[in-house]
């Protein structure tokens, strides 16, 4: 980082920001930025090369594979709509990692929180039946999903606070329990009587689906994700709560001595994280699936975890990372259609993208 950008943090107001922007527009700074962007392009290209080498071993031409992946996701309206649809739960699951991380907690439970969120949204929908439809149902499902996700994260938080159980391990194990809860419900009490004995819940009435924007063929779930990202940015940057979380994440003992209620802050960070993932589950349920099935939204939460690290726990970057990972995930369909490889093989690319990015040593922060 060039020294000219050092005082930025201390300047405030529009004038200060303009001055900072002017300082950045010097030739050395521009050259530095160009080298840096070039470097990152190289990093992502490396990921493509590595995955290309993998598919090459199965006799598939990587170049034509990448072209078809590109065509079926980015330049194809239907595929692009799918990417946007997937980006929303990925981003929300990523934000579910960001908020606890600010307080120094590792939430690997976005997976389970998302599933319970979808399950709770499905439960709300079943309970409502045809009494309430449209926006009222959507709002209630969203609240139900958030409550479900928060409750699931709350279990891990309580285990942490009462039993001192490592929250990374607790959230991880609860993911499996979440899928068992879902399976129990759709094989048992919530099974669709008209479903020929298949383990599916009653389909969501078409009036209660998240509305679709025709021009992009995507549902409005992405707006939930963007709104959530903005809310998280504002809450972490501008509220007393956000400041306290950062203090707890920085030095828990110092925060305690400064009079902060550390247990409540940790609990609140996990609950908010869980609620975000739960909202992601609701978006997937009410926007795409419309039905609960065993294993619904599997690996979405883990992908959100990748997105959060890819975006270095910064909400805006997490959104961008969620878009990238959603594009990769959707391109798995293209992989299957055009190359005859299993669609899950794109998991290699998901993993490798994060690995090549994590392999870049974090730069020392300017003091």
């Amino acid at each position: 980082m060039s020294s000219s950008s050092l005082p930025v943090d201390n300047l405030s107001g529009l004038g200060g920001r303009l001055a900072a922007a002017r300082d950045r527009l010097t030739w050395p700074a521009l050259r530095h930025a160009a080298i840096r962007s070039g470097w990152w392009v190289g990093v992502y290209l490396l990921a493509l090369v590595i995955f290309g080498a993998f598919v090459l071993t199965r006799g598939v031409d990587p170049i034509s594979m990448y072209l078809s992946m590109w065509h079926q996701t980015i330049t194809n309206t239907y595929g692009f709509g799918q990417v946007i649809d997937k980006m929303a739960p990925f981003a929300l699951a990523g934000l579910a990692v960001v908020v606890p991380a600010r307080a120094g907690l590792v939430n690997i439970g976005g997976e389970g929180q998302l599933v319970i969120g979808a399950t709770a949204a499905g439960g709300v929908s079943i309970a409502l039946g045809t009494h309430l439809t449209g926006w009222a149902a959507i709002v209630l499902m969203a609240l139900g999903g958030m409550a479900g996700g928060a409750a699931w994260a709350g279990i891990a938080a309580l285990l942490k606070l009462a039993g001192n159980v490592n929250e990374a391990i607790a959230t991880l194990l609860l993911n499996y329990v979440a899928f068992d809860v879902l399976s129990y419900l759709v094989y048992g009490p919530w099974i669709n009587p008209a479903g020929n004995g298949q383990p599916v819940s009653k389909p969501l009435p078409s009036s209660d689906y998240l509305p679709t924007v025709a021009s992009v063929q995507a549902n409005i779930g992405i707006l939930f994700a963007v709104a959530a990202a903005v809310a998280v940015i504002l809450a972490l940057r501008n509220t007393r709560w956000g400041f306290a979380l950062r203090a707890v994440g920085g030095n828990r003992e110092a925060a305690r001595r400064a009079g902060l209620k550390v247990p409540m802050l940790l609990l609140s960070a996990m609950l908010v994280g869980g609620a975000l993932a739960g909202l992601g589950g609701m978006v997937q349920y009410a926007g795409v699936e419309g039905q609960l099935v065993p294993g619904v939204a599997a690996t979405f939460g883990y992908t959100g975890f990748l997105a959060s690290w890819l975006g270095r726990h910064q909400p805006a970057k997490v959104l961008a990372a969620a878009f990238l990972l959603a594009a990769i995930a959707v391109s798995g369909n293209a992989l299957q259609l055009s190359s005859g490889l299993p669609g899950e093989a794109v998991n290699i690319l998901l993993g490798v993208v994060l690995l090549v990015v994590l392999a870049q040593r974090p730069r020392p922060r300017a003091a």
Partner: protein, 307 residues
């Protein structure tokens, strides 16, 4: 009466024998993770390491007909994936948890890319071998001495791992890397090399655990067949207080929880399938909640901290 309780086909004996057979894959992975964590590195990618071990062993068994060759392949595959983890966290300073999760995705993708043609393949795999005399002891015989060879190997491996960690020079280096890496450096040994070796050795163990799962226990290959066993192994290491011998108890406990569902159903007990499926995870959490405060004192001092 005694015969119905202690005979070879009773519920108790079936559950106990299933606990050992089903817990063995977790035991291998947990022993490997104990070694890695004693050196200071957490590898939640163990789930993925086991998975590549499952596939490597199965594929080699299908192609060559030699089950032991499959185990060797699984050990190398596990060590190979763990080497990526070691490179990332030891030499690139990457987050241990995030790298582990990325490795899980890598393993999911690799095993689906190379495993799709083997989903319906058949193997002979490892057969169970009843030890003469010992195998005829009531209860203990079927529980401990009527299993596949990888189970017998694990009986030796747990004490061997304990000896290796606490009585050998190598073990001392590994434990120092996990407690005081700077002391190791002062001693003229690179903690990075020691950690890398420990992580790869742990990966080899987890790979063999996967081999037991696919070529001895189930004799099948299916996608994502580890179903959280690797994560349980990571949790188990805390439960075991980073001690290989105590990992044995834990692994069989959780192996038993996994097997209980199948056994109860065979015997006609009507317990909800999904309650039983959730049991190993809930049990792990409950045990951790009860023990964790006491267990934490055993944690290696520099666990999770990059060099």
């Amino acid at each position: 009466m005694l015969g119905t309780i202690l005979g070879s086909n009773t519920l108790l004996v079936t559950v106990l024998a299933g606990a050992v057979a089903g817990g063995t894959s977790i035991l291998y992975a947990a022993l490997g993770e104990v070694i890695a964590e004693r050196s200071g590195v957490i590898n939640v990618g163990t789930e993925g390491t086991m998975l590549v071990g499952c596939l490597a062993a199965f594929v080699v068994d299908v192609e060559t007909g030699h089950a032991w060759l499959g185990v060797l392949a699984a050990a190398f595959a596990g060590a190979g994936l763990a080497a990526v983890h070691a490179f990332m966290v030891v030499y690139r300073g990457a987050s241990q948890l995030a790298t582990g999760l990325a490795l899980l995705f890598l393993a999911l993708g690799i095993t689906s890319l190379y495993g799709e043609n083997y989903v319906s393949s058949n193997i002979t795999g490892f057969l169970s071998y009843k030890v003469p005399l010992l195998g005829s002891i009531p209860v203990l015989g079927p529980m401990l001495f009527d299993h596949d060879p990888l189970v017998y190997v694990s009986y030796g491996l747990a004490p061997a791992t304990w000896w290796f960690l606490f009585r050998s020079r190598w073990g001392l280096l590994i434990r120092t890397a996990g407690e005081r890496p700077e002391a190791l450096r002062a001693y003229g040994i690179s903690p990075a090399s020691v950690r890398s070796a420990a992580v790869m050795l742990g990966g080899a163990f987890a790979g063999v655990g996967g081999a037991q799962l696919s070529t001895a226990l189930t004799l099948t290959w299916s996608e994502d067949m580890t179903a959280g066993r690797g994560f349980i192994a990571v949790a188990l290491v805390i439960f075991a207080g980073w001690n290989p011998l105590r990992a044995v108890v834990g692994a069989y406990l959780f192996g038993g929880a996994i097997q209980l569902g199948a056994v109860l159903q065979v015997h006609g007990y009507q317990i909800n399938q999904f309650v039983l499926d959730a049991l190993p995870y809930v049990l792990t959490l409950a045990v951790l909640a009860v023990l964790e405060r006491r267990q934490n004192q055993f944690a290696p001092e520099a666990l999770g901290q990059n060099l």
